[in-house]
Symmetry: C2
DNA sequence: GAACTATTTGACCGAACGTTCGTATAAAAA
DNA sequence: TTTTTATACGAACGTTCGGTCAAATAGTTC
């Protein structure tokens, strides 16, 4: 075990990186094996062999996006002081993640959960679970803020997190339709107002 | 010209009604001519002939959904007294429209704008235009509320409408993932808080 | 260098895709 | 009644879909 990736693992990683990019723009259904292979310069069967089925490719893509989100948003956000500062850090890192177009279609989970919201199956279940994890994290951080007296004792943290999430998602989506940055300003204004900072 | 629809217009209407249902669940790309024909008991070419291309079918589907939205949300909402009551009526009718699953996948425009947000083309342009019209309507109604002194004179109506829209969309999307009604309660709580009612 | 395993390829499958075409049928117009 | 027009059909087009498989290529181990 040296530091380098095994040969197959390397192409798998490159494949998923491209898959995430495609999925944020054209959805996890618009993500096709043939297109993926074409853009990567691989053969269709070569790409396919790494996953075994389209559904497994979709699931792996979701998990890959999850890791990127954890690396770029969750982990650095958790380094901020607990309570309101941590909540604000998580929100701002999320918005930066969307605004800087780490993925060309903005936030992966906004795009994909809207796509699979009304369906059934393993992909939907995974996306819903990841969304729940994110909301759960925000609720825990908000609860800390209440416990520490940074937010009023009667704060409804579920309501607060619902609103924070709503503003963040709306900023992501509206920035894609309007093609400018003002929605991010609006979302931050709304969240700051809600947190009293 | 008697009251009845021409024969072709009738099937066109039935086709679009089904198309909207499909699109809210599987998107405007998941909407295929073959599937549409199968579910309606028509031939593929018979359905296709009404639209001439897939893109035209998608555009017609968006316009059909627009009409339903106008009939069920906009028109009755505008009958409420101007200002805050009208804004609240529009919001609540929108939420009822989503909650009662007039379309099986909830709000058509939430689903479809998320799908086409990051793309190019005529369908995206039309969806964006319809979203703008809706936001513009809300802004005008909110401006009335400010002018009538129902909202503070320094109210940022664009900010207000951004937040109302964010909460409404989040309620629609989250009710689809959680599969219960509590998101609608949260959205209404948030909006009422913002409007001071 | 041989043997073995991991990786990638290219040729192929049946099904579904959007689309075109010629034709049948039924209502409306002449 | 004849002619025209609107409407729907069935068969087929080329393409792409997800998926399979044996053969070739590369890397590693002996």
């Amino acid at each position: 075990m040296d530091g380098r990736l095994a040969r197959g693992e390397e192409t798998r990683r490159a494949t998923l990186a491209r898959a995430v990019d495609i999925a944020t723009v054209d959805g996890l259904e618009g993500l096709t094996v043939g297109r993926l292979a074409g853009e990567l310069g691989f053969s269709k069967s070569g790409v396919f062999a790494h996953f075994g089925s389209k559904e497994e490719l979709q699931l792996a893509t979701v998990e890959f996006a999850t890791q990127v989100f954890i690396d770029q948003v969750v982990r650095p956000g958790l380094r901020a002081p607990r309570g309101v500062p941590r909540l604000m850090a998580l929100f701002e890192l999320w918005m930066r993640f969307s605004r800087e177009r780490v993925f060309p279609g903005g936030c992966f989970f906004s795009a994909v959960s809207a796509e699979f919201d009304a369906r059934d199956g393993r992909v939907r279940d995974l996306v819903v679970a990841r969304n729940r994890q994110w909301a759960g994290l925000l609720v825990a951080v908000a609860a800390d803020a209440v416990a520490d007296g940074q937010l009023p004792a009667d704060t409804d943290v579920d309501q607060l997190v619902f609103e924070v999430n709503a503003l963040g998602r709306a900023a992501n989506e509206e920035s894609l339709t309007t093609r400018d940055d003002t929605p991010y300003t609006r979302a931050e204004t709304g969240v700051r107002h809600r947190l009293g900072v």
